[in-house]
């Protein structure tokens, strides 16, 4: 049986000056123009938007988290309900992760909590034990113990039925030494082979498997990991593991890793979705990105803005978002962005959004989510166009205020 016969990845334009490319990734639920942003429907729902609103805001693809769904409502219930697409009413391309990230990031402590000196981010440690077999963890719902193995992860992802699925790996934290990173990488490689075997065993032709490139911040390990995944029958690759402690280091790790990967397969950058990070990733050939940032930001009153916002104020640099609960917006009759054609910018003023946030109205979250989702889809469309026009650096200045 031929693997991935219902999938394809075509590079539609390859930049002559960088690794940047545009592509078309075909799935059983339709095509995906790349580079693309994948929105996080963590528990089988986008926080603050219906599938219809996501579509209207230009969304091509979403993801759900296997960790959350395997605990509730459970993979077999979702399967019984006809799979995740039907369960949540999303008929476009979809990705699920392996479930490992939540277990390990909460277990090891995240980069953010590391910096803040909180080893577990103030939350209960979920990881109990890593063994050759898999990872023992405690449910965030009731503390019950579960074992996640590479085979189990594939099994649950098969029940969920997303188009793109991912092998289980150990997400190594950034503060460990090279030796730990190397050992961990080799464990992840053995898990990847088991994942692939389980994938092939139950393959229905409706899913495509991504291998993960580990290796932390170490170029020689990244090279070895890149070679490993390229040698296996994966449909695509995901850049994972520790990407460093700073944005600059992350951009460097992405660049290094991408230089080791052959260009044929699509590459996903796990959990990264800042505007600057997307320009950097796209420049080095990343095809898909995911991050909770746009929708989480909305829940905190933040709206993504383009560079114009700062240039109009006479500034030459500025953040990627504004916070609408700021008193300066109280009587501001303009939309978030006058050039934006999203439902929110077409109907609501900054003053109204300020009012909604002050009044703690649910609609504030919906309105800001719709804007941020639309913004990201508009951004990625602009990135694709700019790659075709060889004008990525020029385009970047429209989105990030910079000297």
């Amino acid at each position: 049986m031929t693997l991935y016969k219902n999938f394809s990845f075509e590079i539609t334009h390859q930049s002559s000056t960088s690794r940047a490319r545009t592509g078309c990734l075909m799935t059983p639920h339709g095509p995906l123009e790349t580079p693309a942003f994948i929105f996080c429907a963590t528990k089988a729902a986008i926080k603050g938007a219906t599938p219809q609103q996501m579509k209207e805001a230009g969304t091509q693809i979403i993801l759900s988290n296997t960790y959350h769904l395997m605990l509730q409502p459970g993979g077999s219930l979702v399967e019984k309900m006809g799979g995740l697409h039907k369960f949540m009413g999303w008929d476009g391309p979809m990705l699920t992760d392996s479930g490992g990230f939540q277990i390990f990031s909460l277990g090891h402590g995240s980069v953010a909590s590391e910096i803040k000196g909180k080893r577990f981010g103030g939350r209960r440690k979920t990881l109990s034990k890593i063994s050759e077999e898999g990872a023992m963890f405690k449910s965030y719902l009731d503390g019950s113990e579960h074992l996640l193995t590479p085979e189990k992860s594939i099994e649950v992802q098969r029940q969920l039925g997303a188009d793109l699925i991912v092998v289980l790996d150990e997400c190594t934290p950034f503060h460990v030494d090279k030796k730990y990173t190397e050992r961990s990488m080799h464990l992840s490689h053995r898990w990847a082979l088991r994942s692939l075997e389980e994938f092939k065993r139950g393959d229905t032709g409706r899913q495509a498997l991504y291998g993960i490139v580990q290796g932390g911040v170490y170029p020689d390990l990244r090279r070895e990991a890149a070679q490993f995944v390229s040698d296996q029958d994966f449909f695509g690759h995901a850049v994972g593991g520790s990407l460093g402690a700073t944005k600059d280091q992350m951009h460097e790790v992405v660049e290094t890793t991408m230089s080791f990967l052959a260009p044929e397969r699509p590459v996903h950058l796990l959990g990264i979705g800042g505007v600057r990070d997307i320009f950097n990733g796209a420049r080095h050939g990343i095809d898909t990105f995911d991050c909770v940032h746009p929708t989480r930001l909305a829940r905190h009153g933040g709206a993504l803005v383009r560079a114009d916002y700062w240039y109009e104020k006479g500034l030459i640099s500025g953040k990627e978002h504004i916070t609408l609960s700021n008193a300066q917006f109280k009587e501001d009759a303009r939309p978030i962005d006058e050039t934006c054609t999203c439902h929110t910018c077409q109907n609501f003023s900054r003053a109204y959004l300020y009012h909604l946030l002050k009044a703690r109205e649910l609609l504030a979250v919906q309105a800001l989510t719709i804007h941020n989702v639309f913004y990201m889809n508009r951004l990625l469309k602009a990135v694709r166009q700019a790659i075709m026009n060889e004008s990525l650096s020029c385009e970047e200045k429209l989105w990030i205020a910079q000297e």
Copy 2:
């Protein structure tokens, strides 16, 4: 200057067997087919739905509360932003209340808190003092003291700019005696005359004023109040004040009050919106209803269901709603209502809604709000059709399971 020249109310069908009628109420923001349900956008936002979603769910008209908006963001800010229609992105018919209800209901304590023995519903008393001039009250936001007079209420409602506006009255609680009710009614009548005078003084032709029929549960007082409002230049009438302590008493008070009102003007029933109450109201000639129930119910996991739901279970009676967080829905692949064409019923199963509620996902509120709004609009459409067909009692059996 002719009052209400941009408004009209045409009775399109008058039942030959009851006071029930269908009508068309024309406003500067379009027509309203009656009987109609008015949804509560308390603080200039429907909790859980965008204006677009409200329109898609068949909504004709919404209301906002003057009490909340005068305190935040304030009438003059809304006016500066182009009025409430523009501010909140709603271009259909709209009503505002006088602001009195919140002051008095929180001040006196509601019927519900009365029954539960909580005089102020566990909340801070807002009413400070009623005088001939108006009502002194404390802001729910910061405790600051404000005076709401009939003139002030009209002024704020003019700044907000809704199509249909309402005179300030004292909302008498149901536990007071007849003497108090009569005194209160006469105060409300003097306030109504002042409201009307202020309305005429600043009339722009873009608003129509409703007078309120007071009189509590006493038929002779209701008759006097009905005569009073009919003698004044109101565009429409609203049935207010105490409607009694039970549903049956309320239905009786509505029937009695309606028997005293001439049929020419549209009549609104304040704050009532149960399914049974709507059939009762429509039967006695009520043209519009409002209630927070459908949207509030959604926030508590409740979905309105038709009688079929119970009949299919072999039951001959049942509640007007089901609660989707009930374990019986965990693996139920059916929509809330198989005959419902709302976005929620077309896309989501009971099992998915159960999951969303268990996972505390925002989408649960949106999905249930959309269903309940659609349900109410569908109900009122069915009521209008049934009035035209003289089949209201028959229609009622489809919506309320009953012997």
